[in-house]
């Protein structure tokens, strides 16, 4: 349901979306005579009809390779880079090998690893665009007075064990696994083919997730080390941590804890399999904590680009 102040803007969206096989309608302040209460009533009536239709839909069985997963990390700590993100990377590899799709964003997290990431591109053009995307944001940062190549890794990173910028970037990029990068997407572009895509997007999680889900992902795998309550609204975020202390402190935030892999690295294959089962669970209707608690939103930059 599209809610808009202006009929002409709503009509534009209706035209763009009308060839998708989803019920759609638009309610505008224009229709409501600019009255907020009338607007609300119109929207409730239209929403009631939509929900009545939607509730008639039934699930169809599909192979897990039909999934398209968005990959995100936030408030990372060493458990993210050494365990949670590599585990997500293995899941991504298995999904892509089965014929599924995945997308990684947070361009500035590639800084230091853009050489390795770009080498996985299937075409020279994609390779170039990955490098340019990083360069452009580094320049943008410099214009705001931020030197990303200066104090990076910073004191806290170094104290945590990160030695060089290349070393630091591994922890984030490893979420994407090892498969070739099949597509390069501008922020919010659709990804309609199988395989891994790289999207030029901000590191700021709320905007990052919005762009990744806009690509068509049905779910995001969202790792955190110290805890991060944000989730997307348009698609579930499956929250993952490998930090046992965090998982114990935040039992209604994380949907999957892989701390077991930290205690016993021989168990990693089993943990990967368990995560795949959890993903299929959520794709089949199991709720994530973010959905249950009504946490989360979609965020689009309105004051110019976010780094």
């Amino acid at each position: 349901m599209i809610l808009s102040a202006h009929q002409h803007k709503a009509d534009e969206l209706l035209n763009t979306l009308s060839d998708h096989d989803r019920p759609i309608c638009a309610i505008t302040l224009d229709q409501a005579g600019r009255d907020a209460l009338t607007f609300r009533t119109l929207a409730v009536r239209a929403g009631a009809k939509l929900l009545w239709d939607l509730s008639r839909q039934r699930r169809e069985r599909m192979p897990w390779s039909d999934l398209f997963l968005a990959l995100e990390c936030g408030m990372s700590d060493p458990s993210s880079s050494v365990f949670a993100n590599p585990i997500v990377g293995r899941v991504t590899d298995q999904l892509v090998a089965a014929g599924g799709a995945a997308v990684i964003g947070e361009t500035l997290e590639w800084l230091g690893s853009e050489g390795a990431l770009s080498k996985r591109a299937v075409t020279a053009e994609i390779e170039e665009r990955i490098k340019q995307a990083v360069e452009r944001r580094v320049t943008l940062a410099r214009k705001s007075g931020i030197d990303l190549l200066g104090n990076n890794p910073n004191k806290a990173n170094v104290a945590a064990g990160l030695t060089t910028i290349e070393d630091k970037a591994i922890g984030s990029v490893v979420k994407s696994g090892t498969s070739p990068v099949k597509a390069f997407l501008e922020y919010g572009d659709r990804h309609d083919v199988a395989g891994l895509a790289a999207m030029d997007g901000p590191s700021y999680t709320p905007e990052s997730l919005t762009g990744l889900i806009a690509a068509g992902a049905q779910m995001s795998l969202f790792t955190s080390g110290v805890g991060n309550s944000f989730v997307g609204r348009l698609a579930p975020s499956l929250k993952i941590t490998a930090n046992r202390e965090t998982a114990e402190r935040l039992p209604e935030q994380f949907d999957f804890c892989c701390a077991e892999a930290v205690r016993n690295p021989d168990r990693i294959e089993q943990v990967v399999e368990n995560l795949i089962f959890r993903i299929c669970d959520v794709a089949s209707g199991a709720l994530t904590f973010g959905e249950i608690l009504g946490e989360g939103d979609e965020v689009i930059a309105r004051f110019g680009e976010t780094l």
């Binding site: 060493p78 050494v82 590599p86 230091g112 690893s113 050489g115 390795a116 190549l149 170094v158 945590a160 064990g161 030695t163 060089t164 910028i165 290349e166 070393d167 970037a169 591994i170 490893v174 090892t178 930290v262 690295p265 021989d266």
Partner: protein, 99 residues
């Protein structure tokens, strides 16, 4: 987790790719402790040549000065001195390839 509380016989380290030069230790390592490195191929054991803080890197082989090291199959930097297997690899002996 402090060094004093970690008086086990061996400590684990994680190697992620066959061609990696370093492993990440999963606990505080005291000089002289045995480190059990689990990786994608075989496990290997080595002796820590010095104290290594948790989640820091331990050299898996001897390296000459000026060698490019790999972690997670990615070039992570260039050594600035000779390094022996079992030593700590960090900002004092490894710099970015961009420097």
């Amino acid at each position: 987790m402090t060094e004093a509380s970690n008086r086990k016989d061996s400590v684990r380290a994680q190697k992620s790719h066959k061609e990696d030069s370093v492993a990440v230790v999963l606990d505080y390592v005291a000089s002289g402790q045995t480190v059990l490195v689990t990786g994608p191929d075989n496990s290997q054991e080595l002796t820590a040549q010095e104290d290594i803080p948790v989640y820091h890197k331990i050299a898996l082989f001897d390296f000459d000065n000026g060698t490019t090291l790999k972690r997670s199959a990615t070039d992570i930097g260039r050594t600035t001195s000779a390094i022996r297997a079992g030593q700590l690899v960090h900002t004092h002996n490894l710099v970015s390839l961009r420097s």
